[in-house]
Symmetry: C2
Amino acid sequence: MEAMKIDLLIHSASQVCVVPGHDGPQRGGRLGDLGIIENGAVAVADGRILETGPSADLRARYTAETTIDAHGRCLTPGFVDPHTHLPWAGDRAHEFEMRLGGATYMEIMAAGGGIMSTVYQTRAASLEQLVVQNLPRLARMLAHGTTSAEAKTGYGLEKAAELKQLDAIWQLNQRQPIELAATFLPAHAVPEEWSGRTDDYVQHIITELLPAGADWMRRRQTTLFCDVFCEAGVFDVAQTRRIFTRAAELGCRLKVHADEFEGLGGTKLAVELGAVSADHLVKTPDADIAALGQGNTVAVGLPGTPFGLGHSEYTPAKAILAAGGALALATDLNPGTTWCESMQMVMALACRYMGLTQAQALAAATLNSAHAIGRGDEIGSLEPGKQADILILDVADYRQLGYRYGTNLVKMVIKQGSVVSKQ
Amino acid sequence: MEAMKIDLLIHSASQVCVVPGHDGPQRGGRLGDLGIIENGAVAVADGRILETGPSADLRARYTAETTIDAHGRCLTPGFVDPHTHLPWAGDRAHEFEMRLGGATYMEIMAAGGGIMSTVYQTRAASLEQLVVQNLPRLARMLAHGTTSAEAKTGYGLEKAAELKQLDAIWQLNQRQPIELAATFLPAHAVPEEWSGRTDDYVQHIITELLPAGADWMRRRQTTLFCDVFCEAGVFDVAQTRRIFTRAAELGCRLKVHADEFEGLGGTKLAVELGAVSADHLVKTPDADIAALGQGNTVAVGLPGTPFGLGHSEYTPAKAILAAGGALALATDLNPGTTWCESMQMVMALACRYMGLTQAQALAAATLNSAHAIGRGDEIGSLEPGKQADILILDVADYRQLGYRYGTNLVKMVIKQGSVVSKQ
């Protein structure tokens, strides 16, 4: 039998972590099934996974344009980061310093800090400046193993700036290897111009901003998520429902920021409306956790956020899993609360503060996070037919992920069959 | 006036953080004085800092063999990591997984886990294996900006293996750029062979191991620290005093592991005996904090350790500073509680959990940590005459350190005037 010619064969890996999804995310007690093949190989053709299996077997059956010997290394799916606040302009290192120096929230606001600081910087940036400032952040994400991510608006909070953020996401998608799913979040905060008139701003979102976002989506012939920061003092559940109802009518899929500081019922609403994900989920009420077990909304834990703020309470992962929920992980990368591009760091936090094992954290950061951006059928695992988004780790055992932290264990990143980053 | 010819000129840096020490560490409220020169330059000759100053001034007065344009970048002293447990063999990722899976301490011990697991792996390794396994860890440290560090024994716990660890430190010193200060720690734990006979093991240390360590020190014509794990259930204060008294007679300088789980008085003892540093200091009693303010012993916070264990209590930095103490930071890099090579990550933890500002964390990780290994006159700042151990950061402002975390903000590492790492 003659060997079949393919594009890429990665062989002799100490472990190939397939992270099998079958027909959905790994829910509840199933989370952490890595489907490990020892001394394994991955065959790639046309940018997709053709087959995984024992190294000797695949080496006998395929010859490849490019062959990579992964002896002593572990292969995993590329990380999917389903919640970032890219793209933004500027930084808030000075505000962080003020906070550490003992400044109160009001003092920081008076000094021009807080979310509006990033809003003004993002509004002031040109589209090209916004793109150029965010390319190095994406390069860091890629070097640390993220091959697909979500990016969102929400630092514009006015029509032109929100659309500029969408255009920046579009351009960033073309100008580097990470695939970005776009989310529209004019309901990130009530901007100063609308201060004290939240209902009016909600109406403005519904009549002006959402149609503009939907128009952008149609022109770009892409998909668009709509997200709302459903939180005490920001948007309540009734306002969130109004925005989501209109967004769904306009063809958007839904995501929600819920329960970061108080449990208002945003998670239950998300499940009711069939949202793709509900994110943060620190103060989630029991009834909302139970709802996650019944519905198809993926719970996204963002442990970088409480860590970034020095808080001690994290997403109740064990309760969510006990209820049969699907749990994913994301960075929440943003300049205010947590500037960390690395999903490896997020996994290390999830092991220590959410009680996940390394295997659970890895499945949550790949297969389940792919489902959290509605792309679980395309990415997030090394199953045949999926995109060949593959990490070659600098270690032989996946259990080094989460155990070691603060550095980069990714040796090589492969996106759709091509090597796009090497350390 | 003709320009003077020198080896290296780094110019046009947005900030040069000198971290002036004058005649000692930055104590108490003085911690965080960075002596920043904006649009600055550093002149280097014969591997040492010749001068720092305004870029225009130094460019007019010097021509250099090698010139580096640091436009948009910040320069700092190389990080000094004064507490690691290098060199060791193997890892304990499986033990970490068991712990996350809910295994008790006793179950982990029964499965062959705990410190003795690393002791057996380290005893079984040949000298060359021990060296080769630890080179990549040092390479990661270097890439993240550590230019000098401490390394110690304590995974041998018997004469031959303790001396093998010292020889490994010696060889590691020759085979990569980071300078290592050696510490002798046969009093890291009571090995299984001496279980229940702690006093006998202490006597064995005094009569057999310390003389062997001192003999090694004389043969190598180097300095050697002696350290004791002074902790409830391990070595008490009286045993620690006996070991230290003999070590000092033999010419060793002193360091101590104290107050990690209980405050026994090890810190006060360290100050009394003029130890160079007292490390961990989580449960340090008030009287011991006051002693730090009076003596010359540097307090070394190791925030990676409580973080690694998922604990919530950290070194009381503010109380130590309020008492006028000198505070340094270190990784505690080890396979059991915290495997993180990055001093940047340690600074990020210190900002969030010890309440340090970024400037305080930077001074604690450079000048003060140099004093914590007795080398404050040679390294840890960019003052004239000191070794030219310099970091070029990928950011314009030092305040990005600590604020951003989980990635590597170091662009280039210069050791004794030579570029030794680039990202």
